[in-house]
């Protein structure tokens, strides 16, 4: 009897704790949902808190129109999401090399990887910006340019290559972390499979693509989802490198000023409701992806051996 009461109290506490934290975590989402479909009249009505009296989709229409939502979405998909996918491939290859092979200077490589994770992007953003502005292969173009008196360096700013190139070389957004996750997985991957493949005459590249990749779906799912989410939400680098064709995250980050530039009052109820509507729309794709893949995602993240 006493044990039963004890257990009841424990589970009561557990649920109180969990529900109060869930409230905090779900709060902004609920706030967005409520205000996204709310008539602006209700925003000013003090009797309306959570349940709106008048529902409308006009906010959404207004928001999509002011933000050029579909164009930005296209930019985001073509530039950010594509580089997210490229990044997963390049990081996976590099991580396999680091996890499986012994070579001189491996400690140095590991240290470099740690630096990758550690150094904030603020530190390298200005030199990178200038590099992308005058792309020059080790100063060769500049030398020829000086000799002939012509400007030969290439300006890559405002092109998608600013994001593609680092992704191809595995130094894109949060690449260090992606490589780290891959590495931890590959280290725990059974060696026997690969040795069998070597005996059958496959070279390491063949082994990697034919044997290792097909059996590491868990870690690939994890890194792909994380990479896509990071790129979807990234506003810092795009706002530096681009001056037009912004991806969605940049516009959402500055959403009130976008409305202001389009001639709307920032403090207007209609503006605020419209902003909430586009914010919700911005959250929807990652949220849907998450809801559909939730079980797999949680399972893969807890199993992928992020912790070695």
């Amino acid at each position: 009897m006493r044990k039963k009461i004890e257990r009841g109290i424990v589970s009561l506490f557990r649920y109180v704790f969990l529900i109060s934290f869930s409230y905090v975590l779900l709060y902004p989402l609920l706030y967005l949902i409520v205000h996204a479909v709310q008539d602006p009249i209700d925003y000013l009505d003090p009797t309306v808190q959570w349940v709106s009296k008048n529902l409308t989709l006009d906010n959404l229409k207004l928001g999509i129109e002011v933000l050029d939502f579909w164009d930005s979405l296209k930019e985001t998909l073509l530039v950010q999401i594509v580089s997210a996918l490229i990044q997963v491939v390049s990081c996976g290859i590099a991580a396999y090399g680091m996890a499986r092979f012994e070579f001189k200077g491996k400690k140095l490589v590991t240290g470099l990887l740690m630096l990758n994770i550690l150094v904030p992007s603020t530190m390298i953003i200005i030199p990178s910006y200038l590099n992308f502005r005058n792309v020059d292969f080790l100063g060769i173009l500049n030398l020829i340019g000086n000799a002939t008196g012509k400007e030969l360096t290439i300006n890559l700013l405002n092109t998608p290559y600013v994001f593609y190139l680092p992704a191809i070389f595995g130094v894109g957004l949060q690449s260090g972390l992606v490589i780290y996750i891959f590495q931890q997985f590959f280290k725990s991957f059974p060696k026997e499979l690969e040795e069998a493949a070597y005996l059958d005459g496959l070279n390491p590249f063949g082994t990697f693509f034919r044997i290792v990749v097909p059996s590491s779906s868990v870690v690939i799912i994890t890194t792909t989802i994380l990479s896509i989410i990071w790129h979807w939400n990234e506003y810092y680098l795009p706002s530096m490198y681009l001056s037009k064709d912004y991806p969605l995250a940049v516009k959402i980050y500055d959403v009130f000023n976008v409305f202001f530039a389009a001639g709307y009052n920032k403090y207007d109820a209609a503006t605020i409701n419209a902003c909430m509507a586009v914010c919700l729309l911005f959250l929807l794709p990652p949220l849907l992806m998450y809801l559909f893949l939730q079980k797999k995602f949680i399972k893969s993240i807890t199993q992928s051996g992020i912790v070695g």
Binding site: V109, L112, V119, S121, M123, C279, I306, V307
Partner: protein
């Protein structure tokens, strides 16, 4: 004679394998030189020189420690921001660590609705990008939870006025201040626990079930089990979470130092001084992380018999 041939062959295979290692990471290494080490060295150079931009070209003139002297002596905000960044880390780190450990412990138990709660607790990983948070924290929207304890912006502060309760307690003002600071940050703190919970959870799941059975048979209480079994088994994960949390706190975009350098860089376009700011900060962060890691190694790992 035969022996030497064999040895040679063995070395040959090792060499071939290490060559493949280099091949796997070749692209990554090139990327590191082009997009990571290069920019870092550039930024180090900027911090010691006067930088002038003329039509996109950079001119640097070496000027020694001038900028470093300037930011500490002439800049009124920098030293304060440094102090705030470090102080913020010192107060947030223990809370985030313990909070996420407790949540992971709870989520690891078996109870009804576990999957749903896990889903909710992973939400921050999906949407804690800062974009939406930034919008919701801006001055145009009044989200009650965000202004819970500040109470300056809006008259109603969520459902419960925590400031009022604190005042009723009649604590000394210093402690009161600390409490209300924590309360106003509660939202952000809970939101920054997402990845840490995942890491702890995967660590908890890698502890073999048998150990718990043994400790039960030996008659250990839950409390002893936690301190003598769970925590020592988690020592690697704790280290990982410690480092990860420190990095995210130090490099977050809303970190006062990072925000200041960003605005000097982007709005005022002063590249040399902002580089100096970042490097001074980076050295400080390195020292602090070194101290924390040494302390962790010395006190905790020794106690738990860690060999790493």
């Amino acid at each position: 004679m035969k022996k030497t041939i064999k040895q040679k062959k063995a070395r040959g295979i090792e060499q071939v394998k290490s060559a493949y290692g280099y091949k796997f990471i070749a692209l990554w290494l090139i990327g590191q030189v082009l997009f990571f080490i290069g920019p870092i060295l550039d930024s180090l150079q900027y911090s010691f020189s006067n930088v002038e931009m003329t039509s996109g070209k950079v001119e640097t003139m070496f000027c020694g420690l001038e900028h470093y002297r300037e930011i500490f002596n002439a800049n009124p905000l920098y030293a304060d921001n440094l102090r705030d960044a470090v102080g913020n880390m010192c107060t947030s780190l223990p809370i985030i660590m313990s909070l996420s450990l407790v949540m992971a412990l709870i989520l690891n138990q078996k109870f009804r609705g576990r999957l749903a709660f896990r889903g909710i607790f992973f939400l921050p990983v999906i949407i804690a990008s800062g974009v939406i948070m930034y919008v919701l924290q801006s001055e145009y929207v009044s989200v009650p939870l965000f202004n819970m304890a500040s109470g300056t912006k809006y008259e109603y502060g969520g459902m419960i006025d925590f400031n009022e309760i604190l005042r009723e307690l009649e604590l000394p003002t210093q402690i009161l201040k600390l409490f209300s600071q924590y309360l106003s940050n509660v939202f952000g703190l809970i939101w920054s626990c997402g990845v840490q919970i995942i890491l702890f959870l995967s660590g908890l799941q890698s502890i073999p079930e048998q150990l718990y059975e043994v400790s039960k048979i030996e008659g250990a209480t839950k409390w002893e089990e936690f301190w003598y079994l769970t925590i020592p088994m988690l020592k690697d994960v704790i280290l990982l979470v410690l480092v990860y949390t420190m990095i995210t706190l130090f490099t977050a975009v809303d970190n006062p130092v990072i925000a200041q350098t960003y605005s000097t860089m982007r709005d005022s376009q002063i590249y040399d001084q902002s580089s100096a700011m970042l490097w001074a900060y980076f050295v400080l962060v390195g020292i602090i992380m070194g101290i924390v890691l040494l302390a962790y190694n010395h006190f905790c790992l020794k106690k738990w018999g860690g060999e790493s």
